[in-house]
């Protein structure tokens, strides 16, 4: 297979209400990405792949038209992909096959989300993702179904809320070192437990915020990558996996779709024992329990992640650092952009440019996102 590298990355601040429009956010992220590659001209880029989740957030039908001019794609091939919350990492996956197919030598991948327009909250728009005949009439709320899943996960592995709250403490502290973070903070487990109960067992501080933001990465073939940078980060494994729409028919204790996606990506990347071979993890953490839940899937061992957390191994200075960026809980959660932020973090970590967030001796990293109706897993494996 043709090798594909990440050669640059850039992002906007993640904020609850950025004063920028979506095109302005995209333009800023793209400019920072191209500046990261020695002020590369957009003319050098063969095409653009963009991702943004529901059209409803922007109030646009077919919102690729928001991105084409802002990303500098006029006259260039541009398509848009999305798989809900999994979109950011899915964009990296789709970007990978653009270049790996030999049809593109360089490709800009840009993801954005502007969740602030549906003021006061995007929750009402999320109702439109549910099944229209059986589920939508019940007026479902995303937090309800995540509460069901968290409850099931706690039950399956006999987990306490105190332990799960440590994910929020860890990630928000990590985010203090991220220059674009929305909710970096030094908090305690007690702060999480004392925060408002949204839907038991989910407290307010168990949840990532709604955010505005955009992220861009530049992909290149091996030949182009060698010209553009001395520190390419190779995407060696990619996969997505979509489970059934009927989420009520699944055992919510284990994200089997994440497990399968990870196994396929590892196979591509030649990884046999991820616990030993992966140095840095960026699992999708829109809720505290989800980081552990997804890590279980990525590691292929139900219940292992909570044990690693308890032993302090998921901290940035631990043996298996998870979300050293600060994750969605700390950096923010502009849906599609959040997933691509995790891929960008792998680029910064593996190229040794993560600054105060740097994980020592990081050679192999895994980023993962999750979405649709709790049913899709998207995974990339990167190498220095």
């Amino acid at each position: 297979m043709r090798r594909v590298a990440i050669v640059g990355a850039g992002m906007t601040d993640f904020r609850s209400m950025l004063p920028h429009s979506s095109p302005e956010m995209i333009r800023e992220a793209v400019k920072r990405c191209l500046d990261d590659v020695g002020s590369l001209s957009i003319r050098y880029v063969d095409g653009v792949l963009c991702a943004s989740a529901p059209d409803a957030f922007d109030g646009y039908h077919d919102k690729v038209s928001i991105a084409n001019e802002a990303a500098g794609a006029i006259g260039k091939p541009i398509t848009r992909v999305f798989v809900g919350g999994g979109s950011g990492v899915a964009a990296a996956v789709a970007g990978w096959y653009h270049v790996a197919s030999g049809l593109f030598d360089t490709l800009l991948v840009v993801a954005w989300e502007k969740m602030s327009p549906p003021y006061p909250h995007a929750q009402k728009l999320f109702q439109t993702i549910f099944e229209p005949v059986i589920e939508q009439p019940l007026g479902p709320n995303l937090i309800w179904i995540f509460a069901l899943e968290m409850r099931r996960y706690m039950e399956a592995h006999n987990l306490t809320k105190e332990l799960i709250a440590e994910v929020a403490v860890k990630n928000k502290a990590n985010a203090l070192d991220h220059p674009h973070a929305q909710l970096g903070a030094r908090i305690t487990v007690q702060d999480v437990l004392n925060s408002e109960v949204m839907v038991w067992p989910v407290n307010r501080l168990d949840i990532s915020p709604t955010s505005d933001g955009a992220v861009a990465i530049l992909l290149a073939s091996e030949q182009e990558a060698r010209k553009l940078t001395d520190t390419p980060v190779w995407i060696d494994g990619v996969a997505t996996c979509l489970d059934s729409q009927y989420w009520t028919n699944r055992d919510l204790a284990f994200p089997y779709y994440v497990y399968l996606a990870a196994q396929r990506a590892y196979r591509m990347a030649g990884i046999v024992n991820p616990l030993k071979e992966v140095d840095v993890w960026e699992p999708y953490d829109p809720f505290t329990y989800k980081e552990l839940h997804h890590l279980d899937g990525l590691l292929g061992r139900p219940g292992l992640a909570p044990k690693l957390l308890k032993e302090g191994q998921l901290h940035r200075d631990g043996d298996h650092p998870a979300s050293p960026s600060g994750g969605l809980l700390g950096v923010g959660n502009p849906i599609a952009a959040a997933g691509l932020m995790k891929v960008a973090e792998l680029y910064w970590q593996l190229s040794g440019r993560a600054g105060k967030r740097q994980v020592p001796n990081a050679y192999v990293g895994v980023a993962q996102a999750w979405g649709d109706l709790m049913q899709v897993g998207t995974v990339v494996v990167c190498r220095r």
Binding site: A56, D62, T79, A100
Partner: protein, 385 residues
Amino acid sequence: MGFNKVYVLGVGGLPPSTSMRELDFREATFEAAVRAYADAGVEPDEVEGLFSAEQDFVEGISIADEYTPDQVGTRLKFNMLVAGDFLEALFHAYMALRSGMMELAVVESHARPSEIENYNDVLRSSLDPHCLRPLLADPYVLLGLDARAFLRSSGCTTHDLSSVAAKNSRNAALSGGPYGEEVTAEQLEEDPFLYEPLRRRHVARFSDYVAVVVLGTEKWGRRSDRAVELAMVWSSGTTSAAHQWMRSWGKMEWVGAALDRVRSAIGTNPIRAVDLIEFTEFSAHQELQFLSAMLGSDGEAVRMLRAGELDPGSTLPLNPSGGCIGNGNSLNSSGARAFVGAVRQLRGEAGRVQVRGARAAIVGSLHSEISDSGTLAFLRTGDAA
């Protein structure tokens, strides 16, 4: 470094109709998938990935790929939703297969405009909310503007547009398209203007459609004597954005870039290599615009039309299926209908609209009715492959 060749192994679709109300979209997709797998001679379990073409506001559901895997038999497989026309999802599947990441994939698209009460408002919401939406109660006005620019630059007349619409309506009468009718250009010239210079039947009316296409690499293509090679797919960019300020009115500049990529893939001028063209003309002028861009000459396209060279059985049959004017505008599935029609032509299974000896075809689709970007696919079979 070698890249995989890609083949169309099977196609399955329900005939376009003014309404599929007797079937839920999930039932219709399931039916199309069953037909596609039977046509390809593969089992759903063997498929590695699904690419679907969907748009939220058309579905009435956000993130509609949630509802695809169960119907298509791709639960727990690779999945990618591409927000655009079917051919754009095909472009993604083509690249994934070509790269070697998978060997067998399906592409799915469905559209049910019969269930959309306010499609014009949906389409209008693809435009800039400050500058254009307040001005355009009906976004199809842009089609009229584009048609006027084309007529001015090409020397075409409204009668030529009626000739295109009449040709496609007659073709669809043979292919079974829901808007097929035996009609002449002169009769269509009696239609009132809808978006001047476009008359009522110059603009495609809506139809429901669903299709599933099975693609495979050479490993699979070798197993079937009915496989059609998908030699190249290329999706080209727009000249404008949501505000339309920079648009090249009256022209389809995207076609040139796509044609260049097809030419370099097949090693010859595609227009000389093909036996037929299927294109998603949402209005009559777009078909001539497309052909003009393919030929690099406005005048030649009009000459061919007037000489009857675009008719079935002539030099270059264009939309022998009847196109969108004869089969309906199936929104993001329009490209699927055109693609399935072309595959059937190359397999000699197009029935009463069969182009004799068809061995190579170009399929083109617009990103949307009012978009100035699109996708080209080049198909070939037998000696042409």
